[in-house]
Symmetry: C3
Subunit: 138 residues, 3 copies
């Protein structure tokens, strides 16, 4: 049984979803674990991680709009000194979460056919985001 | 230290919550881990996993209604070619999440007294759902 | 490779967020793991765990108000026999989640600079809450 960990840096183009499934699979192939557990932690409070549909792009359009409705700008927030998109970004991060765990079976992440791993950027402007990644197994 | 993993298949009766606590406990007893960590990943984008109250059935009725209010059908979604309940199902999956982790202490999952593990089906019709399960410990 | 687990007891002052980052770091230092994975499970259905901004207190004020809007009291719930704040507390727990996982790198939890670990109490009155904590690594 052994483990490996790294910090993955991802540049986001601003509000939206960046597919990191391939980056994760490549890192995992380099480590060479056949059975185990992968963990991701997004190290930010206005960006998050989620697993969602990787086929229809429209799903992510609807998801972004829905998050905007649930956590709108102009919501009379007390915390408003970092711009109108900052507090909504914190709320969207809480709703979607900063953690993911994926079992590794037969050398592959045990994702479903239609599942992709996404980094969700909730600020309007581009950011460089860090994800702590850990795997344990053999 | 050792590990085990499997794919659990669960038939859902359509929209609602299926208690999988016993199925998980039985699988874990078969593996025979005394201390460790259990991970679950729902391999779908319109069904999810959550831990909630296992006593009052009304809690799950209210939860289903609340999810319907937060992610309603007829919400002018761009993605609507898989039926009116499809995009709401994706949104409910994002809100509730597809991952759970449960420490194993003294041979038992360290759940609270009132906690049960539920597979949440967000589509109206019955589906067969797969959950990737992994345990590591000794 | 080794592991350790414990049940952490936290007294909450009622509705709000209690920073447990230091308690977690102290427990971890006592265990002495350099690289590994920490898992937390809140053993309740009306309190939860989240990682959020540890600097501006106003973020947590806005977060509490936002949760109140998404899961309001007086929402015509079927389950109302444990008080008006009970069903909203279950819903807020589902939205925020009861699990966290944090990679340990170089002997420290790999949290971002502005991230703190919070126990979120969703009931109005003070409660003693239990968190199952597990770490694995070496």
């Amino acid at each position: 049984m052994r483990q490996a960990s790294t910090i993955l840096s991802i540049d986001t183009p601003g509000r939206g979803f960046t597919d990191i499934t391939r980056a994760m699979a490549e890192w995992l192939a380099g480590v060479g674990i056949e059975e185990g557990l992968v963990t991701l932690l997004c190290r930010h409070t206005s960006a998050s991680l989620l697993i969602q549909e990787n086929a229809a792009r429209e799903v992510r359009v609807d998801l972004a709009n829905w998050l905007d409705r649930l956590a709108p700008e102009g919501g009379h927030y007390v915390h408003d000194d970092e711009g109108p998109d900052d507090m909504p970004a914190h709320l969207k991060t809480v709703l979607t979460g900063v953690n993911l765990q994926i079992p590794v079976i037969d050398g592959q992440m045990a994702l479903g056919t239609w599942q992709g791993i996404y980094l969700a950027e909730h600020r309007k402007r581009p950011h460089r985001r860090e994800i702590a990644v850990h795997v344990m197994g053999d």
